[in-house]
């Protein structure tokens, strides 16, 4: 009788402790995973920024400019300006539409003085809900590449 009561106590203690412990572990995963994804994104926008400012901007038509920006977005998402069809993004569900690329107007006509690359709207899905990243991480690198006003993107 007494032994049965003891094992009941142990069950209640275990249930209580396990609940708290599970919550702690889930919280750890939530923070750890969110930090990991954020760090991946910091590296991705940094690499894309460095790539963006050293490439040739071909600006014969607005479509050419858009193709150039698409290559930079791909660099953020896939680490490759021209990824294969089965390329895997650096973060789950990250798409080129989640990346904002903007040219900062410069003194030379048409050529930007700098290029901004930022994560525009992306949800990091962890255990409890999602963390939305809007406008961060973001980088601004000075444009040091070639500006070709009359060339077209291949």
């Amino acid at each position: 009788m007494r032994r049965g009561r003891q094992s009941g106590h142990a069950m209640i203690e275990l249930a209580f402790s396990a609940t708290v412990m599970a919550a702690c572990l889930a919280g750890t995963f939530q923070f750890g995973y969110s930090f990991y994804i954020y760090d991946q994104l910091v590296s991705a926008v940094g690499n894309a920024g460095r790539y963006a400012v050293s490439r040739t901007i071909r600006a014969a038509t607005p479509e050419d400019l858009e193709k150039g920006k698409a290559a930079i977005r791909n660099m953020v998402v896939y680490g490759d300006p021209h990824p294969d069809a089965d390329a895997v993004p650096v973060a789950p569900d990250l798409k080129p539409e989640n990346v904002l690329v903007s040219y900062v107007a410069g003194e030379r006509e048409g050529a930007p003085s700098a290029i901004d690359v930022a994560i525009a709207d992306y949800n990091v899905h962890a255990v409890f809900g999602a963390v939305t990243l809007k406008g961060r991480p973001a980088v601004e690198f000075p444009f040091v590449g070639r500006y070709a006003a009359s060339e077209s993107e291949p």
């Binding site: 954020y38 910091v42 961060r136």
Partner: protein, 152 residues
């Protein structure tokens, strides 16, 4: 009888000890995660800042001033993208070995070096275990001109 009474609450005690260890590990993961991100953010910032400074150099004192000003106005942030970088130093060099904040001969300058030394990450959990209240994660980059590129 006495032994059986002592058994009561054993799970709670064992779990409490485990929980303390677990919380310490969680704190370690949390604080180190933030430090690692801050370090990465600072490195990307100094890369961009060094290139920005080098791109403004034109052999004149005005170019030096423009380089410094451009770095000060970079919109990049750290601490999960929430805080501006402070205490950023911009130095210039003609040979990559001697660095000056106010170069005497701007015409000879071919390199810019940016250091972000003041990004102190507040330590939240490890402080309780005797760790420091804050940890500085400095970053430094060097960029050269003609063509503008990162060299360090």
């Amino acid at each position: 009888m006495h032994g059986k009474r002592a058994q009561r609450g054993f799970v709670l005690i064992a779990m409490s000890v485990t929980m303390i260890v677990l919380l310490a590990v969680i704190g370690l993961a949390f604080d180190f995660g933030r430090i690692y991100i801050a370090r990465n953010e600072a490195q990307v910032f100094t890369d961009a800042a060094a290139m920005t400074a080098a791109a403004r150099l034109d052999g004149t004192p005005a170019g030096i001033a423009r380089a410094r000003d451009a770095v000060a106005h970079l919109p990049m942030r750290w601490n999960l993208g929430t805080q501006p970088f402070t205490g950023v130093t911009v130095e210039f060099s003609a040979d990559g070995s001697r660095w000056e904040r106010e170069p005497k001969d701007p015409a000879s300058i071919v390199k810019a070096r940016v250091t972000a030394p003041s990004n102190n990450v507040d330590i939240i959990f490890l402080r309780a275990a005797g760790g420091p209240a804050a940890l500085t994660v400095p970053a430094r980059s060097v960029a050269a001109i003609d063509p503008v590129r990162l060299t360090q």
